[in-house]
Amino acid sequence: MTKVRVSTCSLAGCFGCHMSFLDVDERLVDLLERVEFNRSPLTDIKACESCDIGFIEGGLCNQENVEVLLQFRKQCRYLVAVGACAINGGIPAMRNSIPISDCLEEVYLNGKGLANQLIPNDPELPRLLNQVRPIHEAVKIDYFLPGCPPSADEILNMLQQIVDGNEPSTSHKNIRFD
């Protein structure tokens, strides 16, 4: 039986959704009978190949996030926005009502006890977006799984339903934004 190929990645997130996914614990063994992981922190594969399902944690806070997301969308048949940051920017989006220059100056120039104040400007660093934006503003998202983070049960349930070819539904009792 060919296995369903799954990729996961974190954009502007804290890896909390990935940590939550790891709480599937030994159920991962059964899961691996049916799915294989491509790009994911589990495999350390860095570039996503053509996949059946992509799970994205985190919103868009810099140019690199946008590039990775566009690449994911091209490679994945179904894309799932996982967690508060992917869905509405989450905690990083708390900077959205403050001008980006004010944020950078506060952190790198005017913060207490700073020596050699300098706003990082290495050309290798991805440039920040003015605001942290949800991923559905940039690409089509097939399914949304809210939570900060969603529980392992919810993540597994979503994955299994897509693998089974069912239209995933989050039970209303299980929707959580925190």
Binding site: N88, I91, A93, K173, I175, F177
Partner: protein
Amino acid sequence: MSQVLTIDGKDLAFDSGDTLFDVAQAQGIYIPHLCHHPDYPPQGNCKLCTVDVDGQSKCACTTQAETGMSVQTDSTTLTEYRRALTELLFSEGNHHCPGCERSGNCQLQATAYAQGMTYSSFKLLNPQRQIDASHPSVLLDRDRCILCGLCVRASAQEGKHIFTIAGRGSDSTLAVNSDSGLLADTNLSAEDRATQVCPVGALMVKQQGFRIPIGQRIYDQGTIDDLGNRRPQYHSPKSKTARIAGDSDD
């Protein structure tokens, strides 16, 4: 002589002057609502209580019951309307649930769960709004205010007239009635109904934080349709043991 109308196929008697919301509530029929509380005059601000009356959409809280009306409180279309309204409320403010003390005790969040909202399909506006932390025991975080006007009505009814909604359209904002415009220069107290009645995390008693952990809060126990519109019980900032009563208007 009482009169009769139909709600969700049931014939119900009502008295003159009752609103559709009153009639449904007396029968234990839950109609989603955020800006209405039975202790205060209805204003029809949030439209969450929209019901179908003989094929027309009307606010249950501001519509007088009339003999012969046929009212439907629930349908796929009504849920879609209500979900869109809830998404709009999320898009209009800065609702960062994972960082909000009120998460789990918030009626806006609970309404979103009940309407099956998993994300907002409207652009998040991220408005810049002013926080008022000047008062020793009450915080006003306008980022989370949904302009329901309940604090305005509650404060007027307790004779203090501390709040008003100023501005128009998307510039509307909750204003404080003092020369400085700050809560510190009013006679508001943590015990006031005006402080307590806020359905979201905009007006909150300070120093509560995460005394009750996420996972054990009101809407972690059940849905708002089942539990009704509840508000948390606060610890009084004045004493370690005193509690300020929570409230339920379901």
